[in-house]
Symmetry: C2
Subunit: 351 residues, 2 copies
DNA sequence: CTGTTAGCGCATTCAG
DNA sequence: CTGAATGCGCTAACAG
């Protein structure tokens, strides 16, 4: 039925004008332009060494047949996909949306394309997501944190693709870590607050299982308090993710308790804004009556009537640095790299 | 050098234990398991008609060689990628993160995988993103809004993939529209506020170029005001995206003006929260002194000391319905469909 | 500067 | 239930 050669021959049920059923192919463009397929391929990929006339003819042909390249085939043939897998815990958290913006910024114009997966903070889901991203043969992977299931870790370690573990630099990375030391940030926060005269520390936080970095900040804070001869007078934690509503409720509970804190450190800004709202609702004046301190430096905290005192994490920079570093060098270096994107304490007006 | 057949023959520089350089392939698993490639392929894809013994042997072989399927090749061979392209204006806006969560929810466990692109509200960027997504041969596309460049529209119309245009149902879709009538939502908001006794309407909004839906709500509001024999007494708009900080500043400006509004309608909750913050900062009491009304029903508005009066848009539902609808039927129906996910007016405590 | 040839890794026919 | 052949659409590696 078919010629013995495996060169593609359009099925007999071809239309008539060079536009067979289905999507137009490279071959259709080539036929219309009167050149070979590889020439079209070169034009599409913007390679040099094509005469202006030929290029123009090909471009015109692409336009007339409405050609859209099939990257599946292209990536398979060149065994390189120009995809960068990005595995994040959640997108409901602005923090990760910021990271993603950074990744986008670094990748814009490079030809690389990010593919995003969301784990909902579940290691098993992360494993599934990593597995399915790897199946698309990405050039690099960006994953949040160091906590992976054993199979996920094996996949990332065994594969030749570059891997950035982001947000955190408090552990040894597979390839490169980009982020900040949350332990140190917690430590410095407490030192800052002690230097401002606070002595009775309360803590309001969220689920440490889901957010190990919150735990690191907490540990750092306690270490600093210990060195200063202090300790927490009280603390509250909710089981779920951080929300402003829970921050508000837990602040109310903490202030109603016996600890009588003079400052409340929150696991992040979302929770801390809830603390500020509690003050607004009850007439307490932040800083004068109670110090409130967050983490992240989100816009919402800075838009409050009183600028939230917090630590600015550089999420955009984390995403951008990770992506830049990965695409700068195709091969994984022999030694792991750590990129510290730092943080800044924002004195603010609430502590 | 090579056998005349085009059957793959591992390069001579093969290792020795059935684990050649590079990623293990289906053929490697087949060799180790002592079956044919197609049998491995069937096991991997979970097809029926495989004897338990064979399946077990294959599974074991997959484990020992550490096989990860190459979906690039799979999708090319089967000309179907199990990808769903999702094109959104921004991820910094929780609204779209919610939509994405809905898409994820609908796709979880179906084998489909979302691939996200971000346009930053720029039609030209949208065109680029659509083009590059289409190049991955997705099974379906979900795009925000109806505003596309002519080439982008042509690509979406011409392609056989299913297309959902989401957020908005105030225009004729290419295939299916999922969302709510923003015009009607604006209209109903104004009617609601009129019925609550407000007469002097102010408006604070953001860039209409970027956010056409905000414009539709505005138009609907003005229509309702007109019917009630009213009109805006004053309005302010910023050029950029909606932010809480701008909402606060514009509210201050509006209240300092000559219009003396008794209610301010905001383009969305982000802006409205800024209005509430302005009140907190100046001692004004929302509703008693000035009505404040938003749009979206974001968590932050409901966590305020006073629950923000607003309209709940069902973003999660929009994402889920769109994805469900698209994967329920592979072929594009002859007639466009419109799915109205509705909205609810939340009376709240600020208007 | 342009063309020819031979796959990329897998899944779809068909046969058994 | 399992296997052999063929090609998905494109690009790398040579030639010219």
């Amino acid at each position: 039925m078919r010629k013995g050669t495996r060169r593609k021959v359009r099925s007999p049920e071809v239309g008539d004008e060079g536009t067979p059923r289905g999507q137009p192919l490279l071959a259709d463009v080539a036929r219309v332009a009167g050149v070979s397929e590889i020439t079209v391929s070169r034009v599409v990929r913007g390679l040099e060494r094509i005469s202006p006339q030929t290029r123009a003819r090909v471009l015109a042909a692409i336009e007339t047949v409405g050609y859209v390249p099939n990257r599946l085939a292209g990536a398979l043939a060149s065994s390189g996909s120009m995809l960068v897998g990005v595995v994040l815990p959640s997108l409901s958290n602005i923090v990760f949306a910021d990271v993603l913006r950074g990744v986008h910024a670094a990748l814009a114009g490079t030809g690389y394309q990010p593919v995003v997966g969301v784990t909902e903070y579940a290691p098993n889901t992360e494993e599934r997501v990593v597995r399915s991203m790897m199946a698309w043969q990405p050039r690099a992977m960006i994953v949040a944190g160091f906590e992976h299931t054993a199979p996920a870790r094996r996949m990332l370690e065994a594969s030749p693709v570059r891997v950035a573990e982001i947000m955190d630099i408090d552990a040894a990375p597979i390839d490169v870590a980009v982020g900040l030391s949350h332990r140190k940030a917690g430590y410095d926060s407490a030192r800052h607050l002690v230097s401002r005269g606070y002595r009775r520390f309360g803590y309001v936080g969220h689920d440490w299982e889901r957010d190990r970095r919150a735990r690191l900040r907490y540990d750092g804070m306690r270490a600093a308090l210990g060195e200063a001869g202090l300790d927490l007078v009280d603390e509250r934690r909710v089981d779920g993710p951080s929300t402003t509503a829970d921050g508000r409720a837990m602040t109310a509970a903490l202030l109603a308790g016996d600890g009588r804190p003079d400052v409340v450190v929150f696991s992040n800004d979302d929770m801390a804004v809830g603390g500020v709202f509690h003050c607004f609702a009850t007439g307490l004046v932040p800083r004068r009556d109670i110090g409130l301190f967050g983490f992240n430096g989100l816009d919402i905290g800075q838009a409050l009537p009183l600028r939230l005192s917090t630590v600015r994490s550089n999420r955009f920079l984390i995403g951008r640095s990770a992506a830049e570093t990965l695409i700068a060098q195709a091969a994984r270096p022999s030694d792991p790299t750590i990129i510290d994107t730092g943080y800044e304490i924002e004195a603010g007006e609430t502590a």
